[in-house]
Subunit: 618 residues, 2 copies
């Protein structure tokens, strides 16, 4: 059997197996799989260098199915490569199977979860950046994209960054089958239109008949030989290729074939070909950065330091101690202070420009290769990449995010620049950690701990300086809190975080003049939260105030209420937060206007305790 | 004074006023304003048709400052047009001033807030779509973009959609001053590189010297004469143009000039020119769609209907009754069922393809023109546009969002397609409404009410069918709830929403066999929440369970706890939600695995009440 004959048989097997698994699973996307089967057959047999038996080998190529709904094709490739059995193939979409509706890292060698369109290619850019600048290995990164997802802006962020960075280790393969879920795509089969766009973004573009195996072979060879630029194969294909009942027909998206037996017969029946996938190039070892070592920065009690500055200094020191730490920023590194890391460790700093989706995706790609990325921008602008953070959780990614410029305390720049929903958004990410230190020493310790933690962690930093109240040697840990003020007979607990800790302490001082004893909890770890300290406070005080520079929904207040929800004895809790749309003004003016400064806390405390007394007297 | 001389003087005035306001405000972006001053001087004097005295005139042109940080320039234009006084100009960034750090609709005729880069152009696309397809007026839409924001994928979504739709009423003006916040942009002054990209996306591109007033005049005239395609002016400019201390110098971003007096002198001193801005073309009246009228759909008790289907039918009926209602979808209209509206009202349906950011931005643009847009996609994919929703709130936009395919109940497709953080994310949007009906009749009534409500409202719908339990004439309202089961001596309250309402009722039935009386609250309005009903339940039952198909953070459970926070008497509350990363499986299998089905609720109830008894006995 010639190469071309074998590949034809292999492609037909991939189609048949896509039909079989989606039929057995009762749902899925066989037609979106069939269009790309010839492309993937040639890739698997002759271009991909991946040891499926050693999925963690750092020398492996990476294959990202950006069109994650073509999972039947992906799993059919795994079977053909010997990574799964036919029996497992048929477990598609069933409870307990590793073969989920869209690929996840539960099934090796899958690096990341896909299924939210437009994310696979940006992640592939991250893997390619890791290959080029971090691992410095010759592995290639291949991304199979759908044509519908070319409408996502994140795809063009990826084209832009890869073109700018000259990632010639990256190949995108666009399966232009023309038909989306409900209709034709904007460009249809205008392959030249796609090519023009790709070239304008600095890519080498090859237009190819996606069902001509020899043409595909030449195109992949050209992609591998091409230097200085990434390559995109724009492949004209037919959705449902090979089965007359569905081929190039609308209305056949995302459902099993109606007559799978006829379809399988039309495709030449079941096969059990096995591909001898090329071994990776193991000639070099992954690059490792040497480190000089050094101490974590500390600050003296009473110093005035912005936590964003402490972030930059701590991250830089972490980079001195660990060669695996890398930093990415969205062109605001002099605001987030990741610029300090960039100055100290330029080889491990990635300027991602103002493209937050690509920034997060790049970090996801890098962590899939074992690097420890810290990603920073304004907290407000992390919302731009929220879907990417959501999917990073599905990818079981270890990702550290830092959002600066929290809340109304930034002042004059106004609400567009104020992170006011970030705590809520990041709390609602599976397995996440949400940290909001009130001073520099807390920040430095938490940054260090984030590096060791798996899953997604988020650090929220402040624009303005706050007083250092935590001693350099004090215990600060994820899940912990600090109680800067308490007594044996406290009337009230004030739970604060970040900028509101200082306000809470000032309020407590004022209240002491009224004869009210207020305990203050600095809840620098919002998720996980220090339930023990909060429960103790709840048991010892008759009222509680939470105060945060954030909308009242989903933030510190809700986290505290949740920690106390099952307690039999609970004080009344008043949530203070930002309740009106803020405007521009001075930081202290805006904290005051929102009622989250010392005066606002004091007023709330008095009102709450007076009501308690009234209730008791009544 | 010739036109060119006048425009030169005007441009210098815009620069001087940018320096003055940012100096007076103590912060801001004068250098980013100065680069675009010549462009805006020519636009204001000769091309913009906008009656600043009648900012609500539907015939007005629209000017969107996509580079919102150039607000000093924008406000200087307002002064030159006579819309504000010099005194107000100098109130820039001060508390109480309408002139915030970044423009907001607080200062007419500003349509939308900008300041999160890459959003203004997509909103301008929405305004242009409104002009072309809805209002059918000849107004033009102008968007001033920065070159740094060209890195945002959303900009390319805008280029793509505008090119596809042939929006020749749209002109983008890119101020290519080369310098970002910390460094040169990816393309620097490669104007042809930008032009190539724009042309590949179907635009007419004009490269121009952004400081040559006659060349700018010609370019704008060309843009206005161009038909069939949108136009982009790619203007080569110098950041800080006109002041030697800052012109084309790095490190001068986002701060007042160090020596404003010398700068003002160098610019020729203060001026007080007034521009006679062209009046709009008032020759036609805005188009209004005629409607046939018709009844809101209703369903019989006991029917099995998916709420996503009810959404589509209700929206279609709403369109029958109101000519101002329009719908947008992200190429999943046969899943969200907005396709029913598209079939009935094709002129008012906008296919936005898989570009959720552009979709939300287009809706924001349309509502700025008084239309009533409903935006739909999978709830999971609305996260893609979270920053746009956040900014829509700053824009005081009236926006209706529908997210389908909520939670693990979608089943086989897996976690990438499951909305599990949407309630938390949308609750944390200022002034938002979050609705999650459990049946078709609730859905239809809520859809109707969303149309009348200002601000941002979010409706969460289910993939699978649920039983109709709400009568067609029953009261359903934003802020309301339903109590499908209660008695005078309830032991327990179960608060549910969406798919978990049926599970809660089944659990209550099982618990009744144990002699436990459970009240069930169908909390279809999560924000605002029906505090009165919840407080009454809290006062009458010893324990409460909240159960939602959502992560435990920021959703229904937190909303209920928040509603009860200040109550003196509160039962213990157990929050049930999705606590492990879901996988693929059948809907009932996944509800069970998450512990949010009837069995999970029953177990939790027994455990909670046994503990209460033990505590009481102890």
């Amino acid at each position: 059997m010639s190469d071309t004959q074998f590949r034809h048989e292999l492609a037909q097997q991939l189609r048949v197996d896509s039909v079989r698994s989606s039929t057995e699973g009762g749902s899925g996307h066989p037609t979106s799989s069939m269009s790309a089967a010839d492309l993937m057959a040639v890739l698997l047999d002759g271009h991909l260098r991946l040891d499926y038996a050693e999925p963690d080998d750092p020398h492996n190529d990476h294959l990202v199915f950006s069109k994650g709904h073509a999972s039947p094709l992906y799993y059919a490739m795994l079977k053909a490569a010997g990574a799964i059995t036919d029996e497992e193939l048929l477990s598609f979409r069933k409870l307990g199977s590793r073969l989920e509706g869209h690929p996840t890292p539960r099934i090796p060698p899958t690096d990341v979860a896909t299924g939210s369109l437009g994310q696979g290619l940006p992640v592939a850019v991250g893997l390619a950046l890791a290959g080029q600048r971090l691992d410095r290995l010759s592995y290639r990164v291949w991304a199979l994209c759908g044509d519908s997802e070319m409408a996502e802006g994140s795809i063009w962020e990826a084209f832009q960054h890869a073109g700018w960075a000259g990632l010639d280790n990256l190949t995108a393969i666009v399966d232009v089958n023309r038909l989306g879920q409900t209709r034709e795509t904007m460009l249809g089969w205008d392959l030249d239109g796609y090519a023009e766009r790709a070239r304008a973004f600095g890519w080498h573009a090859i237009v190819v008949d996606g069902h001509d195996l020899d043409a595909i072979e030449s195109a992949f060879a050209e992609a591998r030989a091409n230097t200085g630029r990434p390559t995109v194969l724009l492949a004209r294909t037919l959705k449902g290729r090979g089965v007359d009942a569905v081929e190039d027909k609308p209305g056949k998206h995302g459902k099993p074939l109606e007559d799978p037996e006829t379809a399988i017969a039309e495709l030449g029946g079941e096969r059990n070909l096995r591909v001898d996938v090329m071994a990776p190039d193991r000639s070099a070892e992954p690059h490792r950065f040497s480190t000089a070592g050094g101490d974590l920065p500390t600050w003296q009690l009473g110093e005035q330091v912005a936590t964003r500055k402490a972030y930059g200094e701590a991250l830089t020191a972490l980079g001195d101690n660990r060669g695996d730490v890398v930093a990415l920023d969205g062109e605001v590194s002099n605001s987030t202070n990741s610029g300090l890391f960039a100055d100290a460790h330029p080889q491990r700093y990635f300027e991602m420009f103002i493209a937050e989706q690509q920034m997060v995706a790049a970090a996801v790609g890098m962590q899939a290769r074992g690097w420890v990325p810290f990603v920073s921008t304004f907290g407000a602008f992390l919302t731009r990449a929220y879907d990417f953070v959501r999917m990073a959780a599905v990818s079981r990614a270890d990702l550290r995010l830092c959002g600066s410029h929290a809340g109304v305390a930034i002042g004059e720049d106004g609400p567009s620049q104020m992170a006011l929903e970030d705590i809520a958004a990041l709390r609602a990410v599976h397995g996440s950690v949400v940290l909001h230190p009130s001073d520099a020493n807390q920040t430095a310790q938490l940054v260090t701990q984030m590096a060791d933690r798996s899953g997604i962690s988020y650090l929220r930093t402040l624009r303005g300086a706050t007083e250092v109240r935590t001693g350099p040697d004090e215990d600060v840990h994820i899940g912990g809190s600090r109680v800067p003020r308490s007594s044996d007979n406290d009337d009230l607990t004030i739970v604060a975080c970040g900028v509101t800790v200082g306000e809470a302490l000032a309020a407590a001082e004022t209240l002491a003049g009224d004869g009210i004893n207020a305990r203050v909890v600095d809840c620098y770890s919002i998720k996980p939260i220090d339930a023990e300290t909060l429960i103790s406070a709840a048991n010892h005080t008759q009222a509680m105030i939470t105060v945060e520079d954030h909308w009242p929904e989903g933030g510190l207040g809700d986290a505290v209420l949740s920690a106390l929800a099952e307690q039999p004895n609970r004080p009344v809790v008043r949530k203070l937060g930002v309740r009106e749309m803020p405007v521009s003004g001075k930081p202290d003016e805006l904290l005051h206007a929102a009622g989250i400064d010392a005066a606002g806390i004091t007023d709330a405390a008095r009102e709450l305790l007076a009501r308690r007394v009234a209730v008791a007297a009544g």
